[in-house]
């Protein structure tokens, strides 16, 4: 499903954020990516949907070799991957409904289906009543939930979430985790970077720990392993 071989990433400023990463993730897995701030978790994740390109090494996602993928084809890769961004990345001029609908508009879904699907996922994340509001009118947690809704609206094969509970209160965090579990049960692979010790230790899944751009631990059913 996702495979990385000797992936190395050096940013233009000289920082090495991935220093030879080797990882295999199978279809349907649920993977936590943990590690201290600045360890390279986001970089690791961003390379999977080509927001960042590795300096060297091979990445294959869904059978697509990202090194060989032409820029023109990148949108089609991204449509197979739902991403919850650490900084939400909502379109400021679009309201909540339009933001979520955007992911379906790019695949030219019919307006009827779009209406139905968008309202369903907004209901799931508990924001149906705020569909007409703009991102600036929402709290951080609410924006995060819009980002989650957008990432799942077209039922992607892979879901990548960068600290999806970072801005949520404990109760909403658990609601979101239940949602992720449900999505995962339907067969979607989930890769989630998180600092939430309680969640990792309670809902057990595979844990990949990254430090200094290296995978230092890869353990199915592992603990969070850091003091939070």
């Amino acid at each position: 499903m996702i495979s990385m071989k000797n992936v190395y990433k050096k940013y233009p400023n000289g920082i090495v954020a991935a220093n030879g990463i080797n990882v295999e993730i199978k279809q349907g897995e649920f993977v936590y990516v943990v590690g201290p701030s600045g360890a390279g978790k986001s970089t690791f994740i961003k390379m999977m949907y080509r927001e960042e390109r590795p300096t060297s090494g091979d990445i294959v996602v869904n059978g697509i070799n990202l090194a060989k993928l032409k820029s023109k084809k990148v949108p089609y890769l991204r449509r197979q991957i739902g991403v919850v961004f650490q900084d939400f990345k909502l379109l400021p001029r679009l309201n909540v409904f339009e933001n979520v609908a955007f992911a379906l508009e790019v695949i030219e879904e019919s307006p009827k289906v779009i209406r139905k699907r968008v309202m369903e996922v907004l209901d799931l994340v508990g924001l149906k009543h705020k569909a007409r509001m703009f991102p600036t009118e929402l709290s951080g947690g609410e924006q995060q939930r819009v980002s989650i809704a957008r990432s799942i609206v077209n039922i992607p094969k892979v879901m990548i979430a960068d600290e999806p509970t970072g801005n949520l209160d404990p109760e909403t965090s658990w609601d979101i985790m239940n949602l992720f579990e449900e999505i995962n049960r339907r067969g979607t692979t989930i890769i989630m970077a998180t600092h939430n010790k309680e969640i990792v230790n309670t809902i057990k899944h595979r844990v990949i720990a990254v430090e200094g751009g290296l995978v230092v631990r890869d353990e199915v059913g592992g603990d969070y392993g850091y003091e939070s």
Partner: protein, 294 residues
């Protein structure tokens, strides 16, 4: 692309115009100013050109025949003139006709009459290219049985060089104006788009293709171009209509005239509209281009 996606792009472009009303206004104003300048300029240039053409068309060579030339020799000369390089038309005028013209112009006071006619028969020759008149005249002058060749020497050379300079300056100014306009407008549009750089990035990250991002921007540029063309079209129409009505009566019977309202206003306004659209579309297209590499 499905039709409904195109519909979506149109809706988005309108929405964006409204939600960025201040930028829409700024860009459309930039378009308005330039198109107005260009419109007025084209109006002046095209009329100047028309006047020049009219004046040029009037330039002709008068070939006087030797008195000794009989009808056969005259016919021979006509044949030869027609064969000269660059000759368009040749009209014969007998010495009686010449006299009539003279009497018409100056009255019968000089005691000239058909019985006492010192004038010569003449050929009136027009050059295919009026600017070549001098050369053609010289060629004709070499033929047998020509007494003299007149074409307003000196005067017309001055006219031609004046018209040529005027045309070139005009063309240069229009081109310079166009480039300034494009620069100005693509800059204005770029400011709008730089402000939306983040948006373009986000769109691409959630799976939009380049065209999906680009088309609404390009359409928006088109609307801005059209909005910017409304004022110039109105003003140029009013201006030229009034000018024409005012000046036209004085030019009746003159050698030159202004361009008539009907095809001309459509042409100028069509040009203004096309240029507005082109500038808007081109400006958006170029500005959005470099932000698509996400």
């Amino acid at each position: 692309m499905k039709a409904r996606t195109l519909g979506r792009h149109f809706r988005e472009s309108f929405k964006s115009l409204g939600r960025n009303s201040w930028m829409t206004f700024a860009s459309a104003s930039a378009v308005t100013v330039t198109l107005l300048l260009v419109g007025v300029f084209v109006m002046i240039m095209m009329n100047l050109n028309k006047v020049a053409d009219d004046l040029e068309k009037d330039v002709e060579i008068k070939v006087l025949l030797e008195l000794t030339a009989d009808d056969a020799a005259a016919a021979q000369l006509e044949k030869e003139i027609k064969e000269v390089d660059g000759v368009a038309t040749v009209v014969y005028s007998t010495k009686e006709a010449e006299l009539e013209d003279l009497i018409k112009d100056f009255g019968a006071t000089m005691g000239l009459s058909d019985q006492n006619n010192p004038l010569r028969a003449a050929y009136y020759v027009k050059a295919e290219n009026p600017q070549e008149t001098e050369k053609v005249a010289q060629r004709i002058n070499r033929l047998k049985n020509t007494y003299s060749v007149e074409y307003g020497e000196g005067k017309i050379e001055k006219l031609f060089s004046f018209l040529n300079v005027a045309r070139n300056i005009g063309l240069g100014l229009i081109l310079a104006l166009l480039f300034t306009a494009m620069f100005l407008i693509s800059n204005t549009i770029r400011i709008t788009i730089v402000a939306r750089r983040r948006e373009i990035e986000i769109m691409k990250l959630v799976g939009a293709t380049n065209w999906f991002v680009r088309i609404p921007f390009v359409l928006e540029g088109m609307w801005i171009g059209i909005l910017g063309a409304i004022m110039p079209i109105t003003l140029v129409t009013l201006l030229y209509y009034n000018l024409y009505e005012m000046v036209q009566p004085y030019l009746k019977g003159e050698l030159f005239n202004l361009l008539p309202l009907t095809p001309f206003l459509y042409q100028v306004n069509g040009l203004i509209l096309m240029m507005g659209i082109f500038i808007g579309v081109w400006g958006s297209f170029m500005s959005v281009r470099k932000f698509l590499r996400v």
